[in-house]
Structure formats: C-alpha cells, structure tokens
C-alpha cells in the first residue's frame, strides 16, 4: 500500500466516520420537548 493509498483511505474513511459520529452525537444529545413520541394522531379533517 502506497503513501497515497494510506492518505486516500484515511481521509475518506475518516471523513465519513467523523461526520456520522458528529451527527449521531448531535441527535442523541439534543433535548427538544417535541422530540418525544407522537405516535398516532387524530387529524380527521371531517371530509368523510
């Protein structure tokens, strides 16, 4: 494996790993009141 190969692999895999980790961390640590379950909602529009 050449130095170019190490560089390409490290940058490519590193980028997606950091991006995915950062996104998941943000999603899991963010507190939003409406972030909880909403499940099934009644939105009958009355057209029946």
């Amino acid at each position: 494996m050449t130095a170019g190969g190490w560089f390409t692999m490290s940058v490519s895999v590193g980028f997606v790993l950091v991006l995915f980790s950062w996104c998941i961390w943000r999603v899991l640590t963010e507190k939003k009141p409406e972030d909880h379950i909403h499940g099934i909602e009644d939105i009958d529009k009355g057209e029946d």
Partner: protein, 540 residues
C-alpha cells in the same frame, strides 16, 4: 388528503433516521461501491464521489425531506398526492405517479435478490456453500439457484430452493409493513440497522486481521488488499474521464435512494416542527459510513487476499457478491460463521430497503383509493406478487430483472430526481423551500447550498443524466465519436431483440397505466375533499 380518522407518525427522531438510512443502505454499499472505486482508481474516484455527495446527494436529500414534510402537513402521504399539493396544476399528481411506480416496481425484483441473500446466509451457515477453490463452481451454483440458465427453472424446472426463501422474505416484508410506519418499519429498522453495522464491524475485524493467509502467496496480504482498493492512480488523467464522474455521481445518487419516491413519502409522516436538516444529514452520513467506512474496507480487500487482482477485476455487483465472495468466505477460518454473518448483513441491508419501497404504494392506495391498511396491503401484495412471479419465471440470464432495473431502477430515477430538485428550487421556490427546511431545524444549512440547490445541482444532474443516456442508451464512444445503441435498446427495437425484454417493458407500462388510472380517480377524491373544505371555511 388523508381520509382516515388517524394518521400515522414516526414515534421517534432516531426511528425515522434509521428508517431512511435503512432505505439507503443496500447491496450497492457493500458490493457496487467498492468495485467502482477500485476500477476507477480510488484517489480520483473519491474526489468525484465526495464532490457529488456535496452538490448532488445532500442537497437532493434535504429537498426531498422538505417537500415530503411540507405536503404531509397538508394531509398528503403518497407521491401523487404530494405532487398534487406541490404543483397546483392537474398535471402535478401525474408527475407524482413516478414516485409510486419506481419503488413498487423495483420491489418486484429487489425482493428476489433479497431472497438470494437470505438463501446464501442459510447455505453458508449450514456449510453448503463450501464448494472448493474453483470460482466457476460458485458461478454454477448461483446460476442454478436463481434460475439463470433457463426460464422457469426455479418454478417448474426442479431447482426451486430460491422460491422457499422468496416466500419467506416476501411474507416478512408484508407482515412488517402491515404493522405500520411506527410499529412496523420503524421498530424493525431501529433494531435492524445497528445489527447490520455490528455484523459489518465483525466481518471487517476478521478481514483486517487476516494477514497473509497463504504463505505461498506472500503478495496476497491485507496491506496489498487495502492498497488494491485505495491506492490512487494518475489522478489528473482519471479525473478527465467523464465516465468516472458518471460512475461517482451515479453511485452517490443511487446509494442515497434519492429520486426514489421513498424519502418524500417517509418525511410526509413528520410533524411540522420535526427537524429535517440534521435528521437528513444523519441518515446520509449513516449511509456514507456503511458505504465508505465498511463496504470500502471489506469487500475488495477480502477478495484480493484470497484471489488476487485477477479475481476482483471485471466482476459486476452480482459476480462479486454471489460468485467471488462465497469463495472468499469459504477460505476463511470459521468460514461458516463469517459467511453467514456477511450474507445476513446483506439480507438486513436489503430488507430495510425493500420495506421502504412498499410504503409509497401503501400510502397511495390508502389515501388515493380510500382503502384501509388491510385492503391496501392485500392489493399491493397481489400486484407485487404478480410482478415478482414474472421476474422469477423469466430468469434466464436474469433478463427481466436486468431490463426493469435499467429502465425503472436507473432511467426513471434520474427523471424523478430531476423533477424533485426543480420543484424544490423553482416551483416551491428556493426562499420558501429554505424557510420550510428550517422549521424546527436543529442546525442551519450553510448559505452556499442555496445557489447549489437552485442552479448547480439541477445543472449537474441534467449533465450526468445526459451523459448516462449517451453512454448507456445510445452507446456513445467518446474516443471515436460513434453511436452504437446498447443492448437495452436493441433488445426492444431490433429484429433479433429479446421478447423477454419487450415483455418486461410492457410490464413497466402496465404498472404506469395502473397508477395513472388510479391517480385520476384519486385526484377526483382530492378535488372533492378540497371543495368541501373550502365550502366549510366559507360557511364558517
């Protein structure tokens, strides 16, 4: 417009992210991407790949999430309904037909491939996939298993093991989808996606610790395997090759499931203040992690270690997945365990995708025809079963599957994605779209994405689409400037063409006609409901 008394919603933010990521992560992440990267010289390919991710994949993804949630707030869940809400013109709903036709039609053959994965996981676990050291034996096994040697072989020709697996996965898909968005798809993906990633990490650790399995072939070691995958070639020359850009953009495009009709349907089940910017980026990054971080590190290096460069070059997705890799895993220590783990992870990747292909059809039958869940699942089950039966019967050289994949799984997806990005940037309007995207958003979309979404992305998409048509339909040779229509065209128009290919296109047309007719009926219901609502508002 939702006509039932209840509408379903995602029960958690992580759930919808896992569902969208599950839809995107499929066989292409583990089989197609590594082959393309190695083929085009990974350095140049990854440059084109990440540029395509930035100006094509992520913007279309955000646009689809936004359009889906926007129309969902108006009570629409199906692609024809969503386009009916977005394009205030009678033609709008018919454009949306593509968003139902594409996933439903792709499901018809994708579920067959899913059955191969489950079958191979079973055969690996039971030791029936240890067929020696000759790759031809694995090729013969695959051809018999899927019926590639003769039409009808797997149904009436005595080689019908695949049908058992097909029945299992078909039933499993519909059982899960019948349970609904939250209890079915979301619950399954919340378990399935982590399990998939865990299995991939287990296989990855195994591959990275293989060292030099055959001392007689010291060159076939893990470092050279990684080098074969990642060593860059002459980057400048390779970047000048338009086919490299086409391959990289196409991989991003199909890998993320954009233009598929799935993301707009899934996001229509979100609430107005549910975040879509971070959620969309997270689903995209999950797909990229699986593709580059796992798929890119497993498939090609493993194949190189046991078979050398000659065993990897020129293998298509099916060749690599169902002929080369079974041989590779059979040579590993604890081959039954790791082979089964590998094919089961492919099965999980496939089923989380196939589930997403059914929901757009279910949503349309429910809101367009006013069917309840049981009725819509039954009708869609019947339609897709007939289509799958056609594909399974005409299995010689997997002609029917290949033809439908080309015209629906590639051509129509390009068309729908182009429509989507134009609707977002030009019909809804970039300013309104931008405002919609940021409702309840956990993060801001960087401002430079505005011109990308409005100008660069549609232009880039149209360029890639034009190149794809030139190369893959008209058979353009850029070196000689000659045009020689490809087999997909000559199969349909030449006197020596394929009757199976023609019937396959006929099936596609039949499905489109069915959805157009039902959309017309649905449009009348929506117009009537809209008029009733307006009357009530006037009286009030």
């Amino acid at each position: 417009m939702t006509t039932g008394k209840f509408r379903e919603c995602w029960s958690s933010r992580l759930g919808v992210i896992m569902a969208v990521a599950g839809s995107a992560v499929g066989l292409g992440n583990f089989l197609r991407f590594p082959g393309l990267a190695a083929q085009y010289g990974s350095g140049a390919f990854m440059i084109a790949y990440f540029i395509s991710l930035l100006i094509l994949g992520i913007p279309i993804c955000w646009a689809e999430w936004t359009l889906g949630r926007y129309a969902g707030q108006k009570g629409f869940r199906s692609s024809p309904g969503i386009f009916y809400a977005l394009i205030r013109h009678p033609v709008g709903k018919y454009i949306g037909v593509l968003g139902a036709v594409i996933p439903v039609t792709i499901y018809m053959y994708y579920v067959y491939i899913e059955a191969w994965c489950l079958g191979y996981a079973w055969f690996s676990a039971t030791g029936h996939l240890n067929l020696g050291n000759d790759v031809a034996a694995y090729g013969d096994f695959w051809a018999r298993f899927v019926g590639a040697t003769k039409d009808g072989l797997t149904i009436s020709g005595g080689s019908n093991q695949v049908v058992i697996f097909l029945v299992i996965v078909f039933a499993l898909n519909f059982i899960i989808i019948y349970r609904g968005i939250s209890k079915g798809i979301e619950t399954f993906c919340k378990w399935g996606m982590p399990a998939l990633i865990l299995l991939a990490i287990i296989v990855l650790v195994r591959v990275l610790t293989l060292g030099t399995p055959d001392p007689a072939k010291p060159d076939q070691n893990i470092l050279n395997g990684l080098g074969f995958m990642w060593n860059p070639g002459d980057i400048g020359t390779q970047l000048a090759n338009p086919q490299l850009w086409l391959a990289a953009a196409g991989q991003i495009f199909f890998s993320l499931s954009v233009g598929f009709g799935v993301i707009i349907t899934y996001s229509s089940y979100l609430r107005e203040k549910d975040d879509i910017v971070l959620s969309g980026l997270t689903a995209t990054s999950a797909n990229e992690f699986c593709e580059v971080g796992l798929g890119g590190m497993i498939t090609v290096p493993a194949a190189f270690i046991f078979l050398g460069a000659a065993g990897v070059v020129g293998q298509g997705t099916f060749g690599l997945g169902f002929k080369v890799l079974p041989l590779v895993f059979s040579k590993m220590p604890a081959s039954q365990f790791f082979g089964a783990a590998w094919f089961f992870l492919l099965f999980l990747a496939a089923i989380t995708s196939s589930l997403s292909m059914l929901q757009p059809g279910i949503a349309f039958l429910e809101e367009g025809l006013g069917l309840n869940r049981k009725q819509s699942v039954s009708l869609l089950g019947l339609i897709t079963a007939l289509g799958t039966l056609f594909i399974v019967y005409f299995s010689k050289d997997i002609k029917a599957l290949d033809t439908i994949d080309f015209w629906v799984g590639t051509f129509l997806i390009f068309v729908l994605a182009t429509v989507l990005i134009i609707v977002f940037g030009w019909v809804l309007g970039i300013e309104k779209g931008w405002e919609e995207a940021h409702k309840g958003a956990s993060m801001r979309i960087p401002g430079f994405f505005k011109p990308i979404i409005k100008y660069i992305c549609p232009l880039y998409l149209l360029t890639i689409f034009a190149l794809w048509v030139l190369f893959n339909v008209f058979g353009w040779n850029p070196k000689t400037g000659e045009f020689k229509p490809t087999g997909y065209v000559t199969d349909l128009i030449s006197s020596e063409g394929s009757s199976v290919a023609r019937m396959s296109v006929g099936l596609i047309v039949l499905i489109i006609v069915f959805f157009i007719i039902t959309t017309a009926a649905a449009g009348r219901r929506w117009d009537k409901a809209g008029n009733n609502n307006r009357s009530k508002e006037t009286k009030a």
